[in-house]
């Protein structure tokens, strides 16, 4: 079989296989993502009010402490194995909030602990979250440099 035919063959076969898959439940998935994502954000808002009223935090300190608490929650639930269960049903609702970022750091760290503390736990810790920090720092530094150059010309 030549390349072109094989491609068609593969495509037909994949279509055939996919026709047996259960159809993706778009509405249900989106509803769950909305509810779980909204709920996590409400927990964040609750922490915000609590820290503001009880400890009088404000500004950057308040925002930072709220994310620290949420990250603690995310890693702790990952450790207990609860977060994976939530994630199976909530989809993007558990990935996109900062707790999902925490989960993506803690989960490989736990899993690869058996390969050692240096080359296992520490090295694999950022397999998923590493790209976020790489591109985040790149984009953030680029933004800073562009604003600095614009500032030299008095544009900002």
């Amino acid at each position: 079989m030549t390349g072109k035919h094989r491609e068609n063959y593969n495509r037909n076969y994949l279509n055939y296989v996919n026709s047996f898959d259960p159809p993706t439940k778009h509405t249900k998935n989106c509803y769950r993502a909305f509810m779980v994502g909204g709920f996590v954000c409400c927990i964040g808002q609750f922490f915000r009010y609590m820290l503001e009223m009880l400890f009088g935090l404000s500004g950057d300190e308040l925002a930072g402490t709220v994310s620290i608490l949420l990250i603690f929650l995310g890693t702790f639930l990952t450790g207990l194995g609860v977060y994976d269960r939530i994630g199976r049903n909530a989809g993007a609702g558990s990935i996109v909030p900062i707790t999902g970022f925490a989960n993506s750091v803690a989960s490989p760290a736990m899993e690869f602990k058996t390969e050692g503390l240096v080359y296992g736990l520490a090295a694999k810790m950022f397999t998923v979250a590493g790209p976020i920090i790489v591109y985040g720092v790149l984009a953030g530094a680029l933004t800073g440099i562009v604003y600095y150059i614009l500032g030299l010309f008095g544009a900002v």
Partner: protein, 127 residues
Amino acid sequence: MFAEYFEIIFMFFKAFVVGGLICTVAQVIINFTDLTAGKILVCFMLAGVALQALGVYQYLVDFAGAGATVPISGFGYLLAKGGIEGAKEGLFAAVTGPLRAASAGVTAAVIFSFLVAILFRARTKYN
């Protein structure tokens, strides 16, 4: 007194709707493409950086509070905000500003993940 309570409850409502909508957009993208969790996170973080660089995301944060800062786009917002604020001080602060602003989140993720990995064992996944 009543107005104050109403304001707090309305703030929760706004946070719920905006945060939920950001997650729904991600879910729609996952449903119609084959992007994995890592790529979704990078895309949303970059969207947060871009929106804040254009000065839009700040309005969303003022409107929805935690609804805008808790999703990963809020992390991008923090990075861009650090860069923009650093740019007023000079080139050095412009380059170091993003990580300085995001240091709380990254440090917390490293410390708590290390402790959790030491204390807990990985469970069998029931996927």
